[in-house]
Symmetry: D2
Subunit: 188 residues, 4 copies
Amino acid sequence: MTTNSATLAPELAVSEWFNTLKPLTLREHIGRPVLLHTFQLLCPGCVSASLPQVQRIEHVFAGTDLQVIGLHTVFEHHAAMTPVTLKAFLHEYRIRHPGGVDLADGKSDIPVTMRRFALRGTPSSVLIGRDGSIFHTSFGVEEDMALGARVAMALAAPLRTPTATDASADDGPACSEDHCAIPPTRAA
Amino acid sequence: MTTNSATLAPELAVSEWFNTLKPLTLREHIGRPVLLHTFQLLCPGCVSASLPQVQRIEHVFAGTDLQVIGLHTVFEHHAAMTPVTLKAFLHEYRIRHPGGVDLADGKSDIPVTMRRFALRGTPSSVLIGRDGSIFHTSFGVEEDMALGARVAMALAAPLRTPTATDASADDGPACSEDHCAIPPTRAA
Amino acid sequence: MTTNSATLAPELAVSEWFNTLKPLTLREHIGRPVLLHTFQLLCPGCVSASLPQVQRIEHVFAGTDLQVIGLHTVFEHHAAMTPVTLKAFLHEYRIRHPGGVDLADGKSDIPVTMRRFALRGTPSSVLIGRDGSIFHTSFGVEEDMALGARVAMALAAPLRTPTATDASADDGPACSEDHCAIPPTRAA
Amino acid sequence: MTTNSATLAPELAVSEWFNTLKPLTLREHIGRPVLLHTFQLLCPGCVSASLPQVQRIEHVFAGTDLQVIGLHTVFEHHAAMTPVTLKAFLHEYRIRHPGGVDLADGKSDIPVTMRRFALRGTPSSVLIGRDGSIFHTSFGVEEDMALGARVAMALAAPLRTPTATDASADDGPACSEDHCAIPPTRAA
């Protein structure tokens, strides 16, 4: 398979993994579509809307080769959302797909993967195509029907030649009532 | 376009049309996917679930060439669900897509198109592919995500060679609480 | 029991009853609270919200002496909402409490009881206290919690001395998206 | 006011308060109804259902003298649900009523107040009457309409003579899917 490495999605930077025996990389998933779901455990919109939606995605697309990966991207209340709390959260909410803690490198309140993908807050989802490039990025929660259609398109899509514009994030909902957008003063 | 007429979806039989200046046929839509949504105005599951879902489909797939067609398939309470009542119903529920009244030919309580497609009750949906053959038939209400994915697949699908088995209806939910399945004694 | 007849709620005027062996009057219910729920079968807000809410009221207050009475107050689409259609509607939606068709006297598009209570559209609810006077009138749908509290207060309330101002309707939601408010030009 | 101290509700035992300048006691609230809402921040049923319901109670009964008090009763995942995490949780979920952390005394995984009230898990609610005795205890989430009616009754109730049986907890829903019932082996 030939891919244009200049336009591949950025790689994950994870400090701790859950629900998987070994660390995952996006590179090793080239050939399969990946849904990367980023969240914080104290983000109301993540808990009430995007995490249940991800579980519906897992149910509807169970027979396909879609890979779902969670990523805990803490950019606020760092002392309140530790890996210990995350582990109990994943247990109580019965979240079974592989997930990681986005790497905090001390250079910013915003963790590394979140900066690499230029995500604006939580919940954000990045759908990565079979060719390893970004198919779609969203901030906030899409309608189930639109998301189901988009995932089906990623599953059906022939290998594309990735282009530079693929990596740009679109303008999703502002999610203002959840206080989960990155404040402008902290943005990478 | 070459199609195998033996395996095309059956044609509609309609006694009265709404929201369209001229009668529609499935034949003339070959080349476009069609979602045929069948309902009764006194079917609780249709009013609360499948009709709002059809409106979400119209919204999400507004930019595509999907054609939505409604069909009022009265198989019970015939005196209660006349075209006069249907017209007011469509007005109050703001249903704008083309729709027809399934032809009652006096040979059965079940109208003609409903018999041709061997539908089991309301709501039922028939997704017809670009080649004019039946892509999927469902009885009851699917999850939005699964339906969004299915419509996306019908939109993306290359022309298939229709086969005889395509026309068979699948086993959807029983919808028993809505009293809308055709009673065995009346089934065509 | 002494009541001040000048301030009693107006009496019902009904042309046909359902779910009861004999006609009902508000007078004969003095001593019990009555919830009078007015609706139209083609009113979307009635079907999706107020009728299910009335069924929750019947469930929660099943052990009390609250009497629920439905009233089909047709003020538009008269040919579409006949008693034949209403009867099938009540059957399919499993509405079991006593209900009547508000009397159309030919003097107005608005039926008689609706005019007597000065109701503004559908759904409207009139809660009548043990003393036979109007406890509360609402247009549109209240929150379950507020309505549950109000019914509990009517059940708990000692007999009041009705006053003239009790009969005034309050300002509920406008229900504009359902097209169910009485048009100003037809108002009684 | 005369009360029978033997049958008053047990007092709160709290290690840390939020949203209040001074500690609260149930004793000082005698004369007002109190809704004591117990929860854990990683309890799915609390986050999705009972906390939003408490906020609806605050809205509907804003004009009354009902006092709402929250209590974080951690009986599992103690390291994951610390006061630091609770504080961020209350901030992000915009919970403004006074709340406390139920006292962990090291004698049991179950904190002190939870043991005093013999609560079975989270969410649990204790409605305390104007006389300081327990009016109703529930485990799980009641319907809004029933809860609204119950709070209205507590607001309307004259002072009762508390009796010993008032303090018994009723049998609410099992909440089994949330893993939030106290395991039998840990029960006080």
